[in-house]
Amino acid sequence: MREPPIIRMLPDRRRLHLSDGPIDLIVEARGIPQAVQCAYEAAARRFITVLDELCAELPLLRTRASRGSPWPGGSIARVMARAVAPYCTTCFITPMAAVAGAVAEAVLAAMTAAVALDRAYVNNGGDIALHLANGQRFTVGMVERPDRPSLFGSFEISAAAPIRGIATSGWRGRSFSLGIADAVTALAETASKADAAATIIANAVNLPGHAAIVRVPACEIAPDSDLLDLPVTRGVGDLTRNEVSQALDAGEGVANELQQMGLICAAALSLQGDARVVSPLRPCLTFHDAPRSLVHA
């Protein structure tokens, strides 16, 4: 029984909520009211076919990307394939590693093509596509664990920075990870690039063979997982400071490489309370610790 997509405004009457199957987008546009309205209509129009477009070539998108992989037909699928291509010779990666970012990008593109906006974002479960007109900026908060809404840091992105995509990956997230990072946030030119890079860096934050890490073949949990029988992380016990540091070193090394290759602009890695930041862009990008405040019940 195919459920129809959900298209509705959130109770704050500012943000648009689009949901269809596993895709769940929170969309916000800022600009003159008519422009916002027009952008939301464009977003909804684009959105209603997205899931069916992707599902039409799902087997291909779930197959390991390689130099000789056939090129998908759909526009979003092509963006996915392009985002994972730089990694396909060295890592196991499928185009699905960039699906969330690519969908966010496609919906944002539909909005900005329809009308001029001051700024806008499409947040697809933490993978975010951004639009910034000149002089505009975004403050983005980072969350270590998706099941807990507390910030471990925040940063600002100004229109001058070449960043229009943010993605977060980690074993606690909705997608499987081969690594042990609580969260890796990658900032890149596009959301799909950020998505693929965050996946790769999060996989690299790892302690292979460590006894405190519970790994299960992906297909034992989700029989149709694109990761087949690769061991995905299901639990990470307490690690010593040294072990945390060693795992973060591995991830940081990969993040530095990706940054030098131009695949990402910056990244933040977190594991069991420790964090690393790879950022050559400090002028455009300020990290600061968010106060750990709580509204006490």
Partner: protein
């Protein structure tokens, strides 16, 4: 692909991804799951349906959507719980759901929110005589201190787990483990705890506790002295003396008032420990996990030699624990030494009767939290008025539809038996703190007068029409229906 799938894997058809979902797992969306081979929607907004607990047949979730109309006719039979309602974090106002419904001619408002409680914990009541550990000693989970031993009451021992000092007052790891422990206990999962200088227990709400690897079956029928009192008549004439071994008060038939009344002859028995009143002894051994909550496995260890002036050869002695789980029968030889023999048939029944009178041993989990802070701002613009209204019982507080006991005094400190709440009602945030559902129900006029967010009130019918994230569950038959019109000064439990 489908041929290779195990029998308990189903294919979800809610969207074109068509996920294969194994039993106990969710699909890619995390919203549909395979629950015992059935496709169900998970993490929905829970609706308590009164009709269900009154015996109306359950309608499977997916079939129900087509046949929804009948439900709308009687919205007062449906109570919207706060489970899945979302929270006001970080201070989003007003509360996610403020719902009105008409019950018995009275317009009622229910304010539904999931509160973030960093001031919270659970009190565990563990029905066991086995010594769990000295009072005030730490209780640990995964090696972290998560609470302490508070006290012992009749047949039970109490542990306090959590509380703000463990959640946020200790190390980060202590807070994280405490939060996990609380979450598991509140959601009915089993938790392993160790007590410093004491026992290791495995506990889950509504389940028998497992103490040092041994599952408790029964609570004791009473203390050793009370057991003598209850069964003296049944023993009289069938045995010369009975010792009921109990860490608290060990009872001796021939010295006990109940035995004297029946004319039981003195036997010259000599019990170690401190005599309280005739036939009642404290501290016959050390506390432990052996007979009757002592550390002994051989009951003769609590006896000194029989007094030769009073005792006689062939004297018959029954020793039994307060739950009847352990027992031994002896006869004295010519040197007045007890020699173990098979339990005579005539005594078997009395031992069985002790066991029969012991209630099942359980672990009970009371969630306790303070809702005195900014959560109230989601309900009213004038938070102290909500506190007053709760105290005067104009506002009823429920947790996932279960009644909450409000601890008198300042603030809104409430307690709820997690076993009366729907499954998996609790969540958490990393502060660390627990997320628990809380609903405030009161008359519409009263809500307006305490500065309620009247503009945000929506009729229940309208909320129910959204259907999407909702799931109906039967209300627990032992809970009072949350939408009885509240009466000032009325009893809530």
């Amino acid at each position: 692909m489908s041929e290779a799938m195990p029998a308990d894997t189903i294919r979800c058809d809610a969207c074109p991804v068509l996920c294969y979902i194994k039993r106990g797992y969710t699909g890619a969306c995390d919203r549909y799951a395979n629950h015992d081979g059935q496709l169900v929607r998970v993490d929905p907004h829970l609706l308590l349906d009164r009709a269900k607990s009154q015996g109306t047949p359950l309608v499977p979730f997916l079939e129900r959507e087509g046949a929804w109309d009948g439900k709308l006719a009687k919205p007062a039979e449906t109570f919207l719980t706060a489970i899945g309602a979302g929270t006001t974090y970080p201070d989003y106002k007003p509360a996610p759901f403020i719902v009105s419904s008409e019950v018995e001619g009275v317009d009622l408002i229910t304010v539904v929110t999931e509160g973030i409680f960093s001031y919270c914990g659970v009190k565990l009541k563990i029905d066991t005589d086995r010594h769990l550990g000295p009072e005030r000693n730490f209780v640990r989970a995964q090696g972290e201190t998560v609470g302490h031993v508070t006290t012992a009451e009749y047949g039970s021992q109490m542990l306090s787990i959590g509380g703000v000092r463990h959640l946020t007052g200790g190390t980060k790891s202590e807070g994280r483990v405490t939060c996990e422990t609380l979450l598991d206990l509140c959601n009915g999962k089993e938790v392993e705890l160790t007590i410093d200088e004491g026992a290791a227990v495995r506990v889950a709400a509504g389940q028998p506790p497992v103490v040092n690897g041994r599952r408790e079956e029964r609570m004791r029928v009473g203390c050793g002295s009370a057991t003598i009192g209850m069964f003296a008549k049944q023993w009289f004439g069938k045995v010369d003396d009975v010792v009921v071994v109990d860490d608290h008060i060990t009872g001796v038939l021939s010295e006990h008032q109940a035995g004297k009344m029946l004319g039981v002859r003195e036997t010259g028995i000599a019990i170690k420990g401190r005599r309280s009143t005739p036939g009642r002894y404290f501290q016959v051994a050390n506390p432990g996990t052996g007979w009757g909550g002592t550390d002994i496995s051989d009951p003769l260890a609590i006896l000194n030699p029989f007094k030769p002036k009073l005792a006689w050869p062939k004297l018959r002695l029954l020793m039994v624990s307060t739950t009847g789980e352990q027992f031994a029968y002896y006869e004295l030889d010519e040197e007045l030494r007890p020699v173990e023999k098979d339990l005579p048939n005539a005594l078997e029944e009395s031992v069985f009767r002790i066991r029969e009178n012991c209630e099942p041993a359980l672990t009970t989990v009371l969630f306790m939290a303070g809702a005195g802070g900014s959560l109230r701002a989601g309900v009213t613009e004038n938070p102290v008025k909500l506190t007053d209204s709760v105290k005067h019982r104009i506002t009823r507080v429920t947790c996932g539809g279960a009644p909450a006991y409000i601890w008198p005094g300042g603030g809104i400190t409430f307690m709820v038996d997690v076993a009366r709440m729907p499954e998996n009602a609790f969540g958490y945030v990393p502060t660390p703190a627990l997320v628990a559902p809380i609903e405030f129900t009161l008359g519409k006029k009263d809500y307006a007068s305490l500065g309620g967010h009247m503009d945000n009130v929506r009729p229940l019918k309208e909320v129910l029409r959204e259907k999407k994230r909702q799931r109906e569950v039967a209300s627990s038959p032992e809970n009072p229906w949350p939408l009885r019109p509240p009466k000032p000064g009325g009893s809530e439990q």
